[in-house]
Amino acid sequence: MNLWSRFFRRQRMMDSLDQDIRDFIERETQDNIARGMAPDKAHYAALRKFGSVTRVKEDTREVWTFGWLEQLWRDIRFGLRALVKSPGFTVVAVLTLSLGIGVNSTIFSVVSTMLLRKPPFPDPDRLMMLCSRNAAAGAGPEESHDPVSPPDFQDWRAQATAYSGIAAATSFENDSKVTLSGGSEPERVPNGEVSANYFDVLGVSPVLGRSFLPEEDQPGRDRVALLRADLWNRRFGSDPHVLGRTVKVNGETYTVVGVMPDTFRQLWMFPEQLWIPLTFTPAQLGPAARSQRSLSVYGRLKPVVTEAQARSELDTIARRIAATNPATNKDWGVSVLTVQQYAIQESNAGTALAFLLAAVGFVLLIACANLANLLLARNANRQREFAIRVALGAGRLRVACQLLAECLLLGLLGGGLGLLFAAWGLHLLRGAFDWNEWSILISEQLSLDRNVLLFTIAVSAATALLFGLAPAFQISRRDPNAGLKESSRSATVGRERHRLQNLLVAGQLALSLVLLVGAGLFVENFIEEMHARPGMNPHHVLTASVALAGAAYKTPARQAEFFESVLRNLEKSSEVESAAVTNNLPYTFPGRAKFLIEGQAPPPAGDQDWRLTFAGYFAVSPDYFRVTQIPVREGREFSRADDANSAPVVIVNEAFARKFFSNQNPLGHHLRLTPDGAPAEAGTTPPPWREIVGVAGDVDEYVGQTNWRPHVFVPFLQHPEGSMDLVVRLKIEPNAFAASLRQAVWSVDRDQPVTNLRTMDRVVRDSGQGDDIMAELMGAFAAIALVMAGVGIYGLIAYLVGRRTHEVGVRKALGARSREVLWLVLYGSMRMVMAGVGLGLLVSLALPRLVLAGFHEVHMNHSNWILAGMPLVVILVALVACYFPARRASRVEPMAALRFE
């Protein structure tokens, strides 16, 4: 008999049971009368013979039950009714829970997006990244996964047999963008140059048209392009006839042959919106080019091959290459890992996320403790109800189960509301993840996906069990008689329960202290970072990027001319104090140039410490130091006279001077620079010797840098480039000048895109790579935790005081003064508070070391102050929380209290 028919059958059978039993007893009565009994005696005899009617009905009903399922349903209904009857408790409990669960879901969704998402390709665990590995860089977490050079890639492709296909793409680390123009406004889009079989290896099919043909990655056949679906939507309006249309990429014409799906966007490593075939010049395939590591290489494992086999095969190939090419490949091995592993390792987010997860975990524990206390208090009031129910025949286990069902209900309600909180929290986070392209990619993908939903349900259930166990356990252990006899007059009431509650509150205090100390460390780090070594004045400066595209700007002369015109336009404006161009903004990672100092020995070949051979390379216009207010401590700045026709000059920064000219004045010395560190091609003239004419102050490459990096500056007129950043010091609010800045560029050439408009303040903040968010988040969680703990203490003390009202009344009647009662309550609570704070302090002592171990370059000069100060904060909050109930207790009227039941 299946569930449904049983259900309906049961209804029918039970409906008539009453009548049936009455009929039965009636007949028995008649029989008794027939035997000669008096009518009423006959009735009683029949009843006695029948037995307990209630029991019979229950037993009969049990025949039809579905067992535990029905029991659960009944418990849930009962629990729901109980919760509705005490709305105050329910609201507080659900709010507390939802806050705790909500923050956990929020952080977990970040974890899910960054660490757990599988790449959106078929069979993602068989798709491998093949990387170069520099043996000198160490193993383990420090292991390098570097891009691959074109000649290496060709060799691997030719020799490796473990893969059904190997393809390469220009590495996303290059952050390359191209200008799409023709038609509407020019825009810069991230692009990738990929092998013809790239999409086959990845397993992605086009949504329109086709992907590349095998012959299309040869020069001459390569003027075809593939669009990503969102680019197609945005720029071409999803036009189905886009195939065959031409687009201008960096001024060159390409034909669109296909559209690729949007799913690429799910993994942050694939920012490209446009793909063109990857071609190599003969130089790029020559032996010297083996050190130009610029490609990401993907391989799809053949079905029968294991990862280990593939790895060892590639190892062998790499060793062979290293043996024949020691100059470029000595100490270079390979690493083979899945695309997902690569994405996780290179995202550098693991430690930060670990700290955040720990923080929200603490918040949840504190919420659980609050809930457990709430439940314990509530159950204390229901002691009589439970005792009666147990006396009437409910097993103690049944009562405990029913309580657990109530807790599960609370958990689910809290989880549901928590999801709403999480959605709001994600909305906030998405706005905050904006410090660079990669973080923006991540922010686009943050969502409440399936992982997060499952996580929330699991956490809700686990939490409910956690805070429900203690009270339920208590209920099931108590002797019902004691419950019935208990009254609030007794002063020793519920000792055991009170101890548990005190323990919980002490635990909450400990946790919130640990969280406060942790947050304090992060906040301190961030603040110190931001104020550490300004080196320049970032206020009132607007920046923008212009990357020249088009055949007109192929020569350095034309590029220089363009930017000079823009600068002249800018200087005409009355709102501009001074304007300059530079190829790299301060507080961003600059390109590097290899240098050689005249009179000093060149560093030994193969030296891996790039700090000794590479300097940050800045090509700047004369007013650069004026705009940025970087001090030039010795010598002079550049002037308009330093141009292509005058003597080559260079300015170095103090770090450079300290490192390489320790006890001399660098002015007057000469050095030679090779931008991009490209090896000199045989037969070309070496770069000229430049005279050092000035020494400038140091500026960091990123917020929080603790070491010093050498920088060199050359006049941009002597070394023009096509892609430069404008920096403009303004007399007005920088953001208000954005439109005028664009206009200044467009009045020189309408077709050049002006991108990345940011104030310099914003640039500095962005270079913190999210340190500000980390500090904000940890601070927010610590605050939430402290408030929750404070509320918890307040609730507990208020409740305890309420239980002792009678006792207080007696004391006051016997002559105690208000002040004494106040102290009595406060003293009693402070013991518990001190215990919690002490425990928390012990644990917090380990924190500074943990943070130092987990993050590079942490500023932690005041950790002792934090360790000393935070406990005081917690004690203060606890005192305030205790004070109000204590004051209420001290104001109790003795007579009213003595009458209080």
């Binding site: 008999m1 049936d20 028995e28 037993d59």
Partner: protein, 120 residues
């Protein structure tokens, strides 16, 4: 409040009570009270079971599909529910009777030799 011991006792009787009901209904459909009286009479008042426990047993048998229930009129023209054996119930009765006889036989074999020993 049913304690553990009472529960055990009831369980022991559940199986046998079911068997007795089935056997009683072999002679024809009957209503609840008639079944109770029949069991009492046939056992010559040895089996004194709480009459109320008849109802859970009847419902159990209905759930298992061994008996069915119908509205009908009793001998003194009153409405009553009549229970009757189903085909499955008939088969089950044979099986259960066989099991019971085996059990009773086994117990008798164990008990009887002891008696003889006691006598001699």
């Amino acid at each position: 409040m049913s304690t553990q011991k009472e529960r055990e006792r009831i369980e022991l009787l559940q199986g046998t009570l079911d068997l007795l009901i089935l056997r009683t209904l072999l002679l024809g459909p009957a209503h609840g009270h008639a079944i109770a009286k029949a069991i009492e009479m046939r056992s010559e008042d040895v089996l004194q079971v709480e009459q109320g426990s008849l109802y859970p047993a009847l419902h159990r048998l209905i759930k298992r599909g061994w008996i069915s229930v119908q509205e009908g009129t009793s001998e003194n023209n009153r409405r009553a529910k009549f229970y009757r054996l189903t085909a499955r119930g008939r088969r089950q009765l044979t099986v259960e009777t066989g099991k019971w006889e085996k059990l009773a036989g086994a117990i008798a074999r164990i008990l009887l030799p002891a008696e003889q020993e006691g006598e001699s």
